[in-house]
């Protein structure tokens, strides 16, 4: 019986822009942290490769997986940034925004740290399509 799950690299321009952004941000932050030119290039490239691998398409879902070595967090314990007492806080909106923009946001422990999974249903012209991987 044929496999019903198809994993396809996400090759739309928007994802490439996102990867470029990830790379640029890594370059900027690494430079600000004082890494040498060679190390900045290596860090940026690692982030770019990681970002490329992070994007995949499973059926009609765009699935983005980001892993780090941090301890993670309990999503149920994150303060609500819309609560009046939190409205003027200068941080604490990142996960809220991810949840607002994506269909599914999951954080779970991985073997080496924490895995963040973002899922968005594909609803554009390519929904249901079978584009080949890059």
């Amino acid at each position: 019986m044929a496999m019903t799950e198809q994993r396809v690299s996400y090759t739309l321009d928007s994802s490439l822009e996102t990867i470029d952004n990830a790379e640029e941000k890594a370059t900027r932050i690494a430079t600000e942290l004082g890494f040498g030119d060679d190390e900045v290039m290596q860090i940026s490239m690692a982030v770019r490769e990681g970002a490329v691998n992070a994007f995949e398409r499973t059926g009609d879902n765009l699935v983005i997986t980001i892993r780090d070595q941090g301890p993670g967090m309990d999503l149920s314990k994150i303060p609500n940034p819309l609560a009046p007492e939190n409205l003027l806080k200068t941080s604490g909106r990142g996960i809220f925004l991810m949840r607002s923009f994506m269909d599914v946001v999951e954080i779970r422990p991985s073997q080496t740290g924490t895995e963040l999974k973002l899922i968005k249903r594909v609803h554009g012209p390519s929904a249901g399509g079978k584009e080949a991987s890059q």
Partner: protein, 114 residues
């Protein structure tokens, strides 16, 4: 594209024309330093013109909040002008639209200061 700012005075109000991206790192730092400089010079009526700001992340939103509260704590007032749809949507989602005084006309923004 990194963030760029330039300031000008209109009837005692400092208008900061911002362009580019207000994001983690340089963009947020530029905004913070700019507002701090303006307040340091004794100017307490500030308008951030965000007409050409095409992207802002959670760090940038935090920096807008910080600019707002810092100005207010020093007895001043900070307003936002000409939000792009993206920034406007973010302020709606985060309910900060109810906190900021948002204007879409520069003359009206200047006039609105007490």
């Amino acid at each position: 594209m990194t963030m760029k700012v330039s300031s000008r005075q209109v009837d005692g109000v400092t208008i900061v024309d911002c362009s580019g991206r207000i994001t983690l790192g340089e963009g947020s730092v530029i905004l913070r330093d700019t507002v701090r400089d303006i307040l340091g010079k004794g100017n307490k009526k500030i308008v951030l013109n965000l007409q050409n700001v095409n992207y802002i992340d959670s760090s940038g939103i935090g920096e807008l909040v910080s600019a707002f509260t810092t100005t207010k704590n020093q007895g001043g007032e900070l307003k936002l002008l000409n939000l792009t749809k993206k920034v406007n949507d973010l302020l709606q989602i985060t309910k900060l639209y109810t906190v900021f005084d948002v204007k879409d006309d520069e003359a009206a923004a200047v006039k609105a200061f007490k």
